[in-house]
């Protein structure tokens, strides 16, 4: 079974600053995906960024980037130039491969509440 741990319940950052959200996971699988999802007050989960475990290069999406340390089973999210619209809950999630629908179950961490201050 997989577990995902997010130990920081809350974080706060000044607008335009950079913030890093931490996530660790435990699995015996070798092939998997890791995700960061954002859940604003509207409740809808939105994919922020994904990382394939077989890729050494860290994923980036505009202001969002990850630091993926496979040996340490660590997957942190860095948000640069924080904006007020980044205020939300952020969830780290794991999905094992191969992806055939039957394996598309997501295992989530407890989440972290990020507040961006004006």
């Amino acid at each position: 079974a997989q577990t995902v741990t997010q130990s920081q319940p809350e974080m706060s950052v000044q607008e335009a600053e950079t913030v890093t959200l931490s996530c660790t996971y435990d699995t015996s699988e070798n092939n998997y995906y890791l995700f960061w999802y954002k859940q604003p007050p509207s409740r809808q989960m939105i994919l922020v960024i994904r990382q394939e475990a077989y890729k050494q290069q860290n994923a980036t999406e505009n202001r969002f980037s990850v630091n993926f340390q496979k040996a340490a089973k660590s997957f942190s999210l860095k948000i640069s130039d924080s904006q007020l619209g980044d205020t939300a809950m952020y969830f780290c999630a794991f999905m094992k491969l191969p992806y055939t629908g039957a394996n598309s179950k997501l295992t989530f961490g407890k989440g972290i509440t990020l507040s961006v201050r004006p």
Binding site: S42, R43, Q44, M45, R50, P98, Y99, K105, L106, T107
Partner: protein, 118 residues
């Protein structure tokens, strides 16, 4: 292109009653997964449906059951409601036909149904 739609958005039920929640997947998706998200927690996987059958199940009692229709829409039924069933219920859709293309690993979520049991 319609995304994942869930109904109703909010629901209040009395302990012991039964409830049915509905989900229509994103156009082109054939797999529906249901998650329970308690307040302040990460989503927990309930079960997954494709080809009108339950394919995977999380650690939830038999009071939780589901159905998938030929048009890929799905229902989640909960019998004998308990106060602890109060949560946000999220539906997510994916496509098995996407193969192992990493770009198709994204699960699209609905805005959820907020169930309150009193």
């Amino acid at each position: 292109d319609a995304g994942v739609t869930q109904s109703p958005t909010h629901l209040i039920k009395t302990r012991g009653q039964q409830v049915t929640l509905r989900c229509s997947p994103k156009s082109g998706h054939d797999t529906v997964s249901w998650y329970q998200q308690a307040l302040g927690q990460g989503p927990q996987f309930i079960f997954q449906y494709y080809e009108e059958e339950e394919r995977q199940r999380g650690n939830f009692p038999d009071r939780f059951s589901g159905h998938q229709f030929p048009n890929y829409s799905s229902e989640l039924n909960v019998n004998a409601l308990l106060l602890g069933d109060s949560a946000l219920y999220l539906c997510a859709s994916t496509s098995r036909l996407s193969g192992q293309n990493p770009l198709n690993t994204e699960a699209f979520f609905g805005q959820g149904t907020r169930l309150t049991v009193v």
